[in-house]
């Protein structure tokens, strides 16, 4: 026992010394390199005026606003696109998930096709496709069922007076459709985890397929679906950083611009990490709440 | 005759103050077969698992195959004991990713550093002894429960142990498969293997056991020969138990 404890201690000391010395070495090199470039680590530049305009900003912003404010706008833009594509992805994902477990064979084949096509091609390519081919190549208004309510053009989507830019729209559609493919698999797995006996039971009671799905199967499948759903939402948040490829000003794109303009690579990168951490925390805490709510609801 | 297992006032308390082992003192001599009986939760599994260090204990003395084990659970002694004591579990616990032959030769090759050919030859002879030599290249999932348990016995024997421990070896089997496993254990007894068997099989106990140890609530209630225990148990609790299992 004693020998074992000492050996454990020995290994731990070795590993942590190694770890700490590597970190110390990197920090030393970093400071030498910053010295060489005539830079120290500081954050006062955050309050200088940014000098660049933004196409989209949820709060008042002008080029004379500070870098900090610009970054905050980027963060809000990220939040905006994440939350809205999250809704779309959930909606489509659940529908496709239901279709892939449903009775209509054609629908099942189609949803399978959709999932393989989306999951076997890179998201970045899909986003660029939606933007440059999907939205920008629309000539005139191709889709305008109700004048002024919903229209689709290369100026984006107009939805009952709210104008969504093509950058935002393509990100919304691209992220939504991509994540939905993964969510549908999570939903399918959850539904399949409910024992077949439960289906037979509600059918034998004469419930319709829809009633059975909503009242019997889903309540049992949800606890199995939620963890997978959470990780897909977190993936969506991380994937939203690909916005830079379609010219949407999210936190990463603005961070990139700020780093270029100020040359403050390390500080800018740290701020980026911090903002991702915040986004992650928000999503996982909300999902935790939802999880609790569903569990208590189920118990009642 | 030398003793293979000797315990004195062995005590183990679970976190909630429940005593799994309550001052257990007992002895198993060489070539003896001890059958441990008792209602579920009586501590018999805990007892047998302390014999090869799978459970620790809080106080008392324990000596297995001549090696002392204390409450500090000395790692080196535990490993030495495990090399010389075989164990067969209720759920077989074969390694599903290894073939039958690999299951049996793993410990001889890795622990006793035998060479592969020698270990495989020994394994094949054990398998033929268990009557399942044709299954050597298969994987556990392809075998029936009874066959799997016989592989588990062969695996335990491969280390040439001085003591074999059986923790309810037939409880997880289909009724029609119980016989083949008990037969295998019986033939081991005939060859003079020292064994401790936790089981509910009364017929088996009557026939094979040298001694029967009855436990309840972590205490040894009585130790008798099977003749006495099954016909004329000394204790009220023993009689009640025998009644319940329909004997």
């Amino acid at each position: 026992m004693r020998i074992k404890r000492y050996r454990g201690l020995f290994i731990q000391v070795i590993v942590s010394t190694l770890f700490i010395s590597i970190v110390a070495l990197f920090i030393n090199n970093l400071s030498v390199n910053l010295l060489r470039a005539g830079l120290g680590l500081n954050f006062s530049w955050l309050f200088r005026s940014a000098g660049f305009a933004l196409a989209e900003h949820p709060l008042p912003y002008s080029p004379s606003s500070s870098y900090a404010w610009a970054l905050f706008m980027g963060w809000l833009n990220s939040l905006k696109v994440i939350s809205s594509s999250l809704l779309i992805a959930t909606l489509i994902g659940f529908l496709v998930g239901f279709a892939s477990t449903g009775t209509n064979t054609l629908l099942r084949i189609l949803s399978k096709l959709y999932v393989t096509l989306i999951r076997q091609t890179p998201l970045l390519l899909q986003l660029m496709f939606w933007y440059f081919v999907g939205f920008l190549s629309i000539q005139g208004e191709i889709f305008s069922p109700i004048k002024g309510m919903l229209s689709l053009s290369n100026q984006g989507i107009i939805l009952s007076g709210i104008n969504l830019s093509p950058e935002f729209s393509s990100l919304l559609v691209g992220l939504g459709i991509f994540t939905a493919a993964y969510i549908s698999e999570v939903v399918r797995g959850g539904i399949n985890s409910v024992p077949i006996g439960q289906w037979e039971a509600f059918r034998s009671l004469g419930l319709s397929e829809n009633d059975g799905l909503y009242k019997i199967i889903m309540p049992q499948a949800l606890p199995a679906i939620l963890p997978g759903l959470t990780s897909q939402y977190l993936n969506l948040a991380k994937n939203s950083t690909l916005a830079i490829a379609v010219g949407y000003a999210d936190i990463y794109a603005i961070g990139d611009t700020v780093i270029t303009q100020t040359g403050r690579a390390i500080e800018g990168f740290l701020l980026l990490l911090l903002s991702f951490l915040l986004l992650n925390l928000i999503i996982s805490n909300l999902m935790e709440l939802l999880n609790k709510y569903i569990l208590t609801y189920k118990q009642r | 005759m030398t003793s293979v297992i000797r315990t004195r006032k062995l005590v183990k308390t679970f976190s909630k103050g429940l005593r799994a082992l309550d001052e257990i003192s007992m002895e198993v001599k060489k070539k003896e077969v001890l059958v441990v009986m008792g209602p579920s939760g009586s501590g018999k599994s805990t007892l047998i698992r302390t014999f090869n260090g799978l459970e620790t204990f809080d106080s008392g003395e324990l000596e297995i195959v001549g090696i002392p084990l204390h409450s500090d659970h000395n790692e080196r002694n535990v490993r030495e004991i495990r090399k010389r004591v075989g164990m067969v579990f209720q759920q077989f616990n074969l390694f599903p990713h290894l073939s039958i032959l690999e299951n049996i030769t793993l410990a001889p090759i890795k622990v006793q550093k035998q060479n592969r050919i020698e270990a495989e030859e020994h394994a094949m002879s054990l398998l033929s002894q268990m009557g399942i030599i044709t299954q050597a290249r298969k994987y556990p999932s392809q075998l029936s429960g009874g066959e799997q348990q016989r592989v588990a016995i062969a695996r335990a024997l491969a280390l040439k142990p001085e003591l074999l421990l059986f923790d309810e070896p037939t409880s997880a089997l289909d009724p029609e498969r119980v016989g083949e496993v008990l037969d295998a254990i019986r033939s081991l007894a005939e060859k003079g293997m020292t064994m401790v068997v936790v089981t509910h099989e009364v017929g088996f106990a009557k026939e094979v056991a040298d001694k029967v140890l009855f436990m309840d609530s972590g205490k040894v209630i009585e130790t008798s020969t099977p003749e006495v225990f099954f016909t004329n148990a000394k204790h009220e609790r023993s009689r009640k138990f025998l009644n319940q299992i329909g004997e």
Binding site: L107, Q120, L124, L125 | Q91, F95, K110, P140, S141
Partner: protein, 341 residues
């Protein structure tokens, strides 16, 4: 004859069982018909495929010198034939035994064939590109991330608190950050952490960044495998006198890997797709080289053709990988891991 007789009720049962289903089916059939006619019309008559046809070598090999292109070609060909052999599943035992070693050997072979040496003309990594680079990044990173992930997973399960702490921190931190941030770090910030004069090749830096990122995910997948192995397996191994290291090596890890296999192959497919992110950071892998081609005045505006072509290539490679993976899974699981008890 009999079959034809049964066809109509069969179709009715699968597609027209009630009025809602009938509506849905008809709608889908119409939509699929319209969409496919438009697509086929565009593919055959609308598209100008010059941007693809004139640049085949660029898509395949990037800027690799023309007279040396046989090297990446040979490597890719080898990978393809190895894939086919594995998929078919050869009957000969010796060939089957050789397969895993060959798969591992593909990496050093690829490095030698691409970078030169051993009598081959050296080719600097800046000339690597296209599909070759995409495949190279994927194979190297996944091969490196695999053992690192195993070590991290074991570290996270460790009894030693400091080891457990470091492993957990590493895994959680890398999983919280988007890949592009890590790649950005790898391409532009890593040089700040090394003394001047020490220069790490860009491709290697990309491989390292991908490895660091993927290993955290691999570790989590393997940990999931660890957790689904019953405690009794460890006990049985203990009872046989195996040491802690031996138990992990011979009993726990092999089972965990088999359980984690589907998740791990998904990681590999995800990695291949994620190599496209290097296009944003200036490596000319498949997507990157395509963006460069699109900047050529001759081909400006041919987005649709290029994207469709790229989607086709990525889809094909990923599908082959998925097939390979499911084949492997079936082979391993059917034989071994259906624990009945």
């Amino acid at each position: 004859m009999n079959k034809k007789h049964n066809l109509f009720p069969y179709i009715r049962r699968i597609a027209f069982s009630n009025s809602l289903d009938t509506c849905i089916t008809l709608f889908i059939l119409l939509a699929v018909f319209l969409l496919s006619t438009i697509t086929i019309k565009w593919l055959l008559f609308g598209a100008d495929w010059a941007v693809v046809i004139q640049n085949y070598p660029l898509y395949a090999f990037g800027l690799f010198p023309a007279d040396q292109r046989w090297r990446p070609a040979l490597w890719l060909l080898l990978l393809i034939s190895l894939t086919i052999i594995t998929l078919v599943g050869p009957r000969w035992r010796w060939l089957r035994k050789l397969l895993p070693i060959t798969w591992i050997g593909v990496i050093p072979l690829g490095i030698v064939l691409l970078s030169g040496g051993l009598g081959l003309l050296p080719v600097a990594s800046r000339y690597w590109g296209g599909v070759t680079l995409t495949i190279f990044l994927t194979t190297c990173s996944s091969l490196l991330a695999f053992p690192l992930g195993i070590i991290l997973a074991i570290g996270r399960q460790s009894d030693l608190p400091l080891i457990k702490f470091f492993s957990s921190i590493y895994i959680e931190a890398l999983r919280a950050v988007p890949l592009i941030a890590i790649l950005f770090f790898g391409q532009l910030l890593i040089p700040l952490f090394f003394p001047i004069g020490v220069e790490i090749n860009r491709v290697i830096r990309a491989v390292l960044a991908f490895t660091l990122f993927v290993s955290a995910y691999v570790a989590e997948d393997i940990r999931g495998g660890f957790q689904s192995i019953p405690k009794s397996q460890e006990e049985a191994a203990k009872a046989l006198g195996l040491s802690k290291l031996q138990i992990t090596q011979f009993v726990i890890l092999p089972q965990a890997l088999i359980i984690a296999l589907p998740a791990l192959t998904n990681q590999a497919i995800g990695l291949l797709q994620n190599t496209s992110l290097m296009a944003i950071l200036g490596l000319v892998e498949l997507l990157g080289i395509s963006r460069s081609i699109l900047a050529n005045p001759l081909f400006i505006g041919r987005y649709m053709e290029v994207y469709v072509w790229l989607a086709g290539i990525y889809w094909l490679i990923c599908t082959v990988m998925a097939l390979l993976a499911s084949h492997l899974e079936q082979k391993v699981t059917i034989e071994k891991l259906t624990i009945k008890n």
